[in-house]
Symmetry: none
Subunit: 413 residues, 2 copies
């Protein structure tokens, strides 16, 4: 069966906002065996919206719409849908209560614009949105489905995961599909593809391998299609075992777990703790660790030592070593990692120091040079990296590399 | 005049690749006064490609196509175009030489696939691609233009900048367009819309207001269309002054500047410095500040005090105050802000302490309760917030609120 995605919003057509919503939705649909036939982006124009949804519903059994549901005048999707489906807007008490709860939780007052968001076309089934004031709406027409969702990414994702995907799975008969994600770090796509060339050739015909690279993390997706789910599951799990034997050094987990989540799980399991001393990563490692609920049980804190005086005063780095070797050096990074571990009484101490860029590089230490150390009772692990010219890339890669090194040390401990 | 963008590639439809090409192209077209009517993404399917370009050429005077021009078998765009324009592929010596030069420079041999890339439809004008092996192609039909370009972003950008945009500017007469962004924080869309209802009504007909909300930041976009650029500029700048007089408390800058960038700019301008003592934000404020190049001139460092012992030992928070009032309290947040400012010798000290969630809430202090303080020589600014149930949302909002409060204090200083 075919699906189409339509994203609505002037900001997409004037090149202000990258349409990452449709990519995310396409990935979700693909994962449950639905073919995405077309993605269309249009502006908040009444005539155009109704023309495009009409065409899409003629071609495809499922049409997902995002955007144009905000509380302001330029958001017209709801009115267009009501008219298109020959319905009328009616006040929905359930939606109203949901908006009220949300606003109350944020300490906000309901105003007239919010009140209007509780009006929905009479013919649709409401999908309650617990993360925002615009509800999702599920329409049926001649066996085809159209779902309208807000364009705010985390609201759309919540509606997709909690409502749309489960309903779509029940509504449409699809071939069995089973997929798993194998999470890797510390390498790049072309290299993985080279190592895995034979593995890919030897895959059974009904299983397909895809590379999904995001900054620093490459997800491998094994997808099986067929009629017997059990057989697909067994075969894919067998292939995952094979991957573990080919690239054990790169795989850190399965099924979309993040590296910070996996590291947190390991620390919790072993009852160990960690602290960080960050220079070039500027708090990003701490932020990643503390993004995980419950991280306070294994993370105590950090010292972000941007200024060298803080490296000396707080982490007890030898002043003369900074003078002789520079702050971006093996000598200094070791003292930073040991300094934070002993000061904050943790099992592991992470330290980073590097030239994030775009300025500050020298011939000896060009932008992208980063030292990382992990200190623990059993010793210290130190590595030097040469990343790129780009500040955000360097910060992200350094943080992932540090978490990857920490993972290695936890497993060894 | 209208333009359309069509991006071709299976990777777009299965959610593997975000279509950032069309965003970039839409931005370029908007900047030269061309209205982008629709963006369509489709897979490498012959029938679908030719159907979609036919529809687009009927609706719009300019159609830009990317993708499907690679050297592999799944790239079929060139053949589809040749057939659609009733032409045939012929060998082009100029393209062949350009491919040869490029491959030589990379130390590569020409293979049969590359040789076939020198064949182009007889009816098109070739746009030489100095950055890749697939040429751009410019077709005319009944006064409309279709341009086909490779999907590799830097090849497409080179062709757009060096060939397509200059040719389009010569070919089409266009109206002027001018837009600016007004950046706001500390409020939400529905509330802004209420405050600005009259402002919006009073706008001249040729100027339009749009709300572009992203987590915690709402961008207001004023767009003007007409024939006299100078008049548009003057009128929009006049409207911006008016906005500054209506909502001075929410506007922190113009033209896509981030709050952390604006705060950095202000600190630099005044020669002031800042440090942070973060509990619930876990380093996110430091990360935001240090994401800006050159931040080392005004940011010295942070103490992330997740564990209460660190609040006591490092920030000198009174142990009995933590016991009496809890770590999430006015008494503690003030000591944290003053502690970090005096310890790190900065002009400002930011402190955060709250219940990020999802667990840890109580009846008195539900999840989302956050205290923020900014300490400076002139005194302390303290605020209590009630955000939401969601950890990521609470961390993000707390960080923005802290930077917003810092901005207020810098301006007052």
């Amino acid at each position: 069966m075919n699906a189409e995605i339509i994203t609505i919003g002037d900001e997409l057509l004037i090149g202000m906002t990258v349409d990452s919503n449709s990519t995310w939705m396409a990935n979700e649909l693909t994962a449950i065996g639905i073919n995405v036939y077309q993605i269309t982006s249009i502006s908040d124009s009444k005539e155009h919206i109704s023309k495009v949804i009409d065409k899409a519903l003629q071609r495809s059994e499922l049409v997902l719409l995002t955007g144009g549901l905000g509380p302001t005048n330029d958001d017209i999707t709801k009115n267009v849908l009501s008219e298109y489906f020959d319905s009328e807007l009616i006040f929905n008490q359930q939606v109203f209560s949901s908006i009220e709860t949300l606003l109350n939780a944020r300490g906000l007052q309901m105003n007239n614009n919010n009140r209007m968001q509780a009006e929905v076309p009479a013919c649709c089934e409401v999908l309650l949105n617990s993360k925002g004031t615009a509800p999702g709406m599920w329409f049926e027409k001649d066996g085809s489905i159209l779902v309208s969702m807000p364009g705010v990414p985390y609201e759309m994702k919540h509606l997709m995961e909690d409502h749309v995907i489960p309903k779509v799975k029940r509504y449409f008969k699809r071939p069995s599909i089973y997929y798993r994600l194998i999470m890797t770090y510390g390498t790049f796509e072309a290299k993985l593809a080279e190592i895995l060339a034979d593995f890919e050739k030897e895959l059974p015909e009904f299983i397909n391998l895809a590379y999904l690279p995001t900054a620093g993390i490459i997800k491998l997706r094994l997808t099986g299609r067929g009629n017997k789910l059990k057989l697909l599951e067994d075969e894919i799990n067998k292939q995952i075992d094979k991957l573990y034997s080919i690239i054990p050094q790169f795989i850190y987990g399965l099924d979309n777990i993040s590296l910070e989540e996996e590291v947190g799980r390991l620390l919790k399991e072993k009852g160990l703790t960690v602290s960080t001393a960050e220079s070039c990563t500027g708090g990003n490692i701490a932020r990643m660790i503390t993004s995980i609920p419950g991280s306070s049980s294994y993370f105590t804190g950090s010292i972000i030592a941007y200024d060298n005086s803080i490296k000396q005063n707080e982490l007890l780095v030898n002043e003369s070593d900074i003078a002789s070797y520079g702050a971006v050096s093996e000598q200094v990074i070791i003292q930073m990692a040991e300094g934070i571990r002993s000061k904050f009484h943790t099992d592991f101490g992470i330290a980073t120091s590097g030239i994030a860029g775009p300025d500050g590089g020298t011939e000896d230490k060009p932008v992208g040079t980063v030292w990382i150390a992990i200190s623990s009772a059993s010793g210290i692990l130190v590595r030097k990296f040469a990343f790129s010219r780009y500040r955000d890339h360097n910060i992200r890669r350094s943080s992932l590399a540090a978490l990857g090194m920490l993972r290695t040390q936890i497993i060894r401990s």
